[in-house]
């Protein structure tokens, strides 16, 4: 299963690895948590028990590293929205494009793979 989902299949090991970072990102659906996070991101990461690598990925907004460390896009997207970033922006980050280039690629029919 892991191989088939290519880049980021969440198998059970990945779910375990990403639990803390996903829980942190998921918590941002609540406005009170967004305020706490914004006030002190560092402390917020510690309170959710992130590993040093996960904490670094969050603080640096390293979206690809978050995935590599077990994060799910449905969770990290809540952090992106807090930063006022779109799914097209993230798509660009993942594929080496600007948000505008990625949006244009979608409007011309999306990206084709074999």
């Amino acid at each position: 299963m892991t191989k088939a989902q290519d880049n980021y299949l969440q198998d059970l090991a990945a779910s375990r690895r990403g639990y803390a970072i996903n829980r942190l990102c998921g918590s941002l659906k609540d406005a009170a948590n967004r305020r706490l996070f914004t006030r002190d991101e560092d402390a917020y990461c510690d309170a959710y028990g992130l590993t040093p690598e996960q904490k670094r990925a969050i603080l640096d907004r390293d979206w690809t590293a978050m995935l590599d460390l077990g994060a799910s896009i449905f969770y990290t997207f809540k952090l992106a929205v807090l930063d006022e970033k779109s799914m097209q922006y993230l798509g660009g980050v993942f594929t080496g494009m600007s948000a505008e280039e990625f949006t244009a690629a979608m409007r011309s029919g999306g990206r084709r793979f074999g």
Binding site: M1, A4, Q5, D6, N7, Y8, L9, Q10, D11, L12, A14, S15, Y19, N22, R23, C25, G26, L28, K29, D30, A31, R34, L67, S72, I73, F74, Y75, F77, K78, V81, L82, M87, Q88, L90, G91, F94, T95, F102, A105, M106, R107, G109, G110, R111, R112, F113
Partner: protein, 283 residues
Amino acid sequence: MAEIIWGLATSHVPSIGAAMDHGKTADPYWKPLFDGYEPARAWMAAHRPDVAVIVYNDHANAVGLDLVPTFGIGTAESYDVADEGWGRRPVPPVRGAPELSAHLVGELMDEEFDIATFHRLDVDHGLTVPLSVYCPDPGEAWPCAVVPVLVNVIQYPQPTAARCYALGRAIGRAIRSFPGDLKVAVFGTGGMSHQLAGARAGLINPEFDRMFLRAIESEPEKLAALTREDYIRRAGTEGIELIMWLVMRGAMSDRIARIHDTYHVPASNTAAGLALFQDLGAA
């Protein structure tokens, strides 16, 4: 006895709801999609169900990672619209159908589907966008009650397509055995091809999507035989949502008529599809 009058398969992309919420449906970006919906909407408006059974997945809003039910059914009197982190959609709260929910849970458990029950549930875009596709201007209240049926598709272990189809068959039997003169519509939501994250982000596979749109009517067994790996490889990591269309198809009888379908790329990062079928009942 209750009867299933139609089944609707539709993508549930959040931005489709946002386009409606912010009055952008006539913008050049969105107009082709909403024009494509129009014949289906007109037909559904003339064929109102009492209850909609909506098969969808939560997206990190009501279901966290502490406990991930494979299949769940909402049993509540009503469901609030979720705040997904950017404010609630300005749509009415969802009225439940607790008697039908209880009947479905009981019948499905007797058929050995182990269903999780949600006694409290905030419904996210996965459920409310399809409701808006059906009814764009609900005013103060949606025109039908709702039974939410949740399927885990966002994180391993997702159920197989075959299991989703079998669940749909059992849901169909359960609906048809409900005492009472209810008209029921069944929604299968999600898809079509898309992948949000990783190197294949932006994936669209129109050949697969067109095949799926055809086969969902007359060859659902063929789609049910595809593995989870097939769905992910061909339709993208989030394209596996299409297994929820099979729950809808399974609930309908073998005799159905295609009323309308439409397909448009893109809605945000997704291929948006819609297919509407009338249930003609047992032969």
